[in-house]
Symmetry: C2
Subunit: 327 residues, 2 copies
């Protein structure tokens, strides 16, 4: 059974008290005041599926497990408030590992101004499982979801993609080397949630839909289009890529833009923007966040959630546009 | 490192916006209106640690994973509202198992009037991990915590204890048989959260502190006394035990009350009650919930969180009064 089929199995009717249920980056629930929503997300990291204990440090794992959840909060235009942490730890794990993990997790909470308010600690026979749940808050008028994209909107990303996927490939194939491998591996182990960027973009009415890129631009854009009931076209050569990724793809004889589009674990934001307001937004985003807002495509006519890819003006068939953790 | 030492490692200062942080059955956070709190809990069940896949059915696991979390909600006097579900499923698991699990989980949500609003589904290399997070709501004035017990209060439980522990023993030692083994094993696999009971007791001012019994009366009472900064005495023979447990302990040559006090996974409520209001509360509880409120001891002078046990008027030393999942 595919992950999407399993998710469908669990779908149930939600009442009016659920503003957004399963299928967005966060669930959206009534907030602590009439003009706010509470958003909640959870992402579980499992040894052997999401990381190998020999490759990632306790500190990196602690920070990454929080970052992937914070990225979902950023995607809603929200700010994080509380975190819960469920842990499964094998008996063999050292006290030093646990201590380093705990300190790094708490330090990151302090840095992000969020409070660890609960959780559950358990022994497991062999696997480390880290499952944070993060709460956030957002003014109702600043909430962004995946479902607001409209024909004519520009499709944008907030940073380069593909590095993490290349980093993972380098970890998996030890014989592979590339001049920028340290930077690519770092992108995989030490992602940063774009909280400031998400919060800024949440306040901008020109942003019509937003999500974070965790399964790759291609797969995630399909989800956004499905939620928004529209179609899109992407100009592959506009996708921002790092020089390290260019080197890597040159060496491994792959098209860098295709590799980047398929990506995964990028944790930049993917958003759609009203075309008329794009230049102003791009300029404000640069002043406020010190980053480029990069237009990579456009929402087109139709409602099939299909994405058309172009490379230098020519139609381009992406080799594998669906990403499944679970097969 | 012990579970309690790991929990200490993760402790961080909480601000005024956190009404109750780690260390109670739920975290208590600002609610959706000025007179309410939101309570949140998470309990993770891991294959090999909390259950064996060959022994528990998918349906039982689904219901139990929800019940152990709902029991924490009941302990605060709250009512459950939303649930999030993180799952790790090995690739080998059958579609039928997943389907049965999902249907049972959803049916139980419907029955309890709670909505599944999010979660995360993942593959794992070998272990099933089920991690629900449950939100609840409670009027501020009806919130119960572990910290309100005062000298002279009566210590009560809302039902028999020890059955689940005996059920687990029967599952672990296949050569063991007892006339009531089906009922004891059922208590272990199919616990029920005492939501109605918790909600009723939350509304009663006579109830000064409350928690659920997940680690056994002895271990959990120690926690309640520590939170309340007091001491207690228990009359072991007053602890309610089932006839099946009596048979089991007779057969295995153990003192049934000691076995019951050590228990674990009982999911009844443990509470302290103002002595002057006890008889009225007991009578109201019987009318409202159809159950006995059983007084098993008293809060005594002192602040060491020590529990003194008595059996038929004589001091009794419990063989092992501390319970640790994690050693």
């Amino acid at each position: 059974m595919k992950e999407s089929e399993i998710i469908d199995l669990f779908k149930m009717k939600t009442g009016e008290d659920v503003i957004v249920g399963p299928g967005d980056d966060c669930a959206v629930l009534p907030g602590v005041s009439f003009d706010q929503y509470t958003v909640v997300t959870t992402d579980m990291l499992i040894e052997g599926t999401h990381f190998l204990k020999d490759q990632i440090t306790a500190k990196q794992l602690a920070k990454k497990s929080l970052a992937v959840n914070l990225s979902d909060i950023a995607a809603m235009g929200a700010q994080p408030t509380y975190v819960f942490l469920s842990l499964a730890l094998p008996k063999e794990i050292s006290d030093q590992w646990i201590t380093e993990f705990a300190l790094a997790f708490k330090n990151e909470c302090l840095r992000q101004n969020i409070t660890l308010v609960g959780g559950d600690t358990n022994r497991s026979s062999n696997l480390i499982v880290v499952n944070p749940v993060v709460h956030g808050t957002v003014l109702k008028k600043h909430l962004k979801t995946r479902s607001g994209a409209r024909k004519g909107d520009l499709i944008c990303v907030t940073g380069p993609v593909g590095d993490s996927r290349a980093g993972l490939r380098l970890l998996q194939v030890q014989s592979l080397t590339s001049p920028g491998s340290d930077s690519l591996i770092k992108a995989h182990f030490e992602p940063t949630a774009q909280l400031q960027e998400g919060f800024f973009l949440g306040r901008e009415a020109a942003v019509t839909a937003m999500m974070d890129v965790s399964d790759g631009v291609a797969a995630d854009l399909s989800k956004l289009l499905k939620s928004s009931n529209c179609e899109g076209s992407i100009q592959l050569e506009k996708i921002p890529v790092s020089s390290e990724l260019k080197d890597f793809c040159c060496l491994t004889k792959q098209n860098v833009f295709e590799f980047a589009a398929l990506g995964g674990e990028d944790y930049v934001l993917l958003l759609t923007v009203n075309e008329n307001n794009f230049l102003k937004l791009q300029s404000d985003f640069r002043s406020e966040c010190g980053k480029d807002l990069i237009c990579i495509g456009k929402i087109t006519d139709g409602s099939s959630s299909k994405v058309s890819y172009f490379l230098n003006g020519q139609n381009y068939l992406l080799k594998n546009s669906s990403f499944e953790h679970f097969e």
